[in-house]
Symmetry: C2
Subunit: 365 residues, 2 copies
């Protein structure tokens, strides 16, 4: 690896670090051992991804359900002695098989368990949204700095090849100067989900899935939004929404003049997509999910020439995105490099989420 620190930082800013740290054909010196904190749905994706990895392995679990943890431990060859309850979690400090943790808990617990893990000397890969307030994000970054451990936020699409190709196409000027982006992401949430309570989710669909549209506008433009407007409603008074919005639409303005319109919901199954409109053409990526990401583009390299067409699907299946993500963090740990999506990336989204909520008359945190 002969890339300079300066070049690396530049690539990082473009969200292209994953490309700069290719994994294929390189055998890491050892596997990084992960402790999974929280054994819900997202943990399942992480664990299945790591199980397929050559650079990462699962070495410990933290759970409030001993039975479930033992069943999963057996599945992933984790010794029973490396199963911890939340109360005894700080003992992970003494487990040398654990290099890093993955925080898969409800949003409102991200800060506490990231900080406890940092104090136990373990690197932290934390699910997004990073936390439920800007102050918590800042405390997490600070705690990890003090403990001299790495903090990465699980923005898995920053490591997904079709997304990286899309970003590179835009940076290379394929569709000209970007003028506008629109995006939606949302789903019809079931009753009794922690995500639709203010106490555990910290917010509604914006925090949970709208964050994909927000983050996309940032990696697509390479800029930070400066102006925010929003409207939010909660029309379905059916008990599902405890202090959080059901529907939220928002706009943003970026320094170069790009405007974006986005919408998210917990009340309906939405297309997850973004469309990017440039002076020379347009592109669209469908699906923010774990597979079936699909890119279509149409642009003219010169006026009055026939348009260049792109129609490409990433054929990789779930949990490949999670393998790539864990292996990126493992490489960063092994080679002492900063992750492409550090705590600061999560903090920026949280600052913007606060601005969007404020515009909608909602107070965050």
């Amino acid at each position: 690896m002969t890339i300079s620190r300066r070049e690396f930082s530049k690539l990082g800013a473009l969200g292209l670090v994953a490309q700069a740290l290719p994994l294929v054909g390189q055998t890491p010196s050892r596997k990084i051992g992960y402790c999974i904190i929280g054994l819900g749905r997202i943990a399942d994706h992480h664990m299945r991804g790591i199980a397929q990895s050559s650079g990462s392995t699962i070495t410990a679990l933290v759970s409030g359900h001993r039975d479930k943890a033992e069943r999963i431990a057996a599945q992933y060859n984790v010794p029973k002695t490396s199963i911890y309850s939340y109360e005894e979690m700080d003992r992970i400090r003494d487990n040398k098989a654990i290099d890093a943790v993955i925080v898969c808990l409800p949003n409102s617990m991200h800060a506490e368990y990231t900080i406890r893990s940092a104090k136990a000397g373990k690197h932290v890969l934390c699910e997004k949204p990073m936390a439920i307030s800007v102050a918590e994000c800042e405390q997490m970054i600070s705690a990890c700095k003090v403990a001299n451990i790495k903090l990465m936020i699980a923005y898995r699409l920053h490591y997904e090849p079709l997304t990286l190709k899309t970003i590179k196409m835009i940076r290379d000027g394929a569709i000209g100067k970007v003028e506008a982006i629109d995006s939606s992401n949302g789903f019809n949430i079931a009753p009794n989900e922690w995500r639709s309570t203010k106490a555990l989710g910290g917010g509604g669909p914006l925090m949970d899935v709208g964050i994909y549209s927000l983050n996309a506008t940032r990696y697509l433009t390479g800029e930070e939004p400066t102006d925010f407007t929003a409207v939010a409603t909660t029309p379905d008074n059916d008990g599902r929404f405890q202090g959080v919005e059901e529907n939220l639409a928002w706009t943003m303005k970026f320094p170069s003049g790009v405007v974006t319109s986005c919408v998210t919901t917990y009340g309906a199954n939405m297309d997850g997509y973004y469309k990017v409109y440039g002076t020379k053409g347009k592109l669209e990526v469908d699906e923010f999910g774990y597979e079936n990401l699909h890119l279509t583009a149409s642009y003219r390299t010169a006026p009055k020439t026939p348009p260049t067409k792109v129609d490409e699907t990433n054929p990789e299946r779930d949990p490949k995105q999670f393998t790539r993500q864990a292996d990126h963090f493992s490489r960063c740990i092994l080679e002492n490099q900063p992750p492409s999506t550090p705590g600061e990336e999560g903090l920026k989204d949280m600052q913007h989420i606060r601005s969007i909520y404020k515009a909608a008359g909602i107070t965050l945190g």
Copy 2:
């Protein structure tokens, strides 16, 4: 026609009047004669549409270019004596072959020529946007009322079968309760277009093409928006934009809790589309243009059943929408019925456009 006045009004509110006034298989007692005011691009669509009609015919032209007018007059069998300059236009009063006019002028001239036509005793079909201010719209409605003539705004999609089917599907509950809508419409404008000057266009892409997204959210929900937010930018300082925005993104909130996110531009070629997200499924219509309107929908009639899929294209070619539109107005004139898209429809859009511009810090009119 045995539909009651009350039923008719109700259908009108649902945008379904065109369905209530079927043209197929009914021979109108006579053709309504139209005078085309302004012979630009949109006039060409109107004229070609009317040429294919059984209920409407072109009987006069108003133009500042005598040569062009004579060429077009010959094409549509309009007598030379029925060609008027703008100065002598008030003489249309004396031409019995003219029942109605179609105002195809730049936006800032809609009010003047609608009012002059009304005073000349002619019914008015006026292009959208209806005018460039709320006050002008009110003056137009008032002038037409005083003159006892009909005023219709050319919202051609209110007469387009796939759009009407889409509205009916939503009203019938196919996709459940609507939660959110997103929509875009825009294009990369050429230099020296009247549309990108404040003096003639009255506004930027919102007035010209964003109005399709705005109007769609209204016919799709059957409601009027109550809250508006917006951001606008004009990044391309290349002389094309004279006092109007280049890019504009906006959100709206509706009484039932529907939120919408929309975006429009004069800086890039956009997909013209809307997506409607409901509790039971979603639907999308692509293309606000003159042909190739395409509906896709996917919804569940009961939980856990396989989704019902719709994939349908309106095979009609341009200028069919203009034929339908003119013939609707002709029928309204013959049968003394109110048009489905009267001046009040244009006024409502203009009031909302004013609110959107105000939210973006732009003053209208």
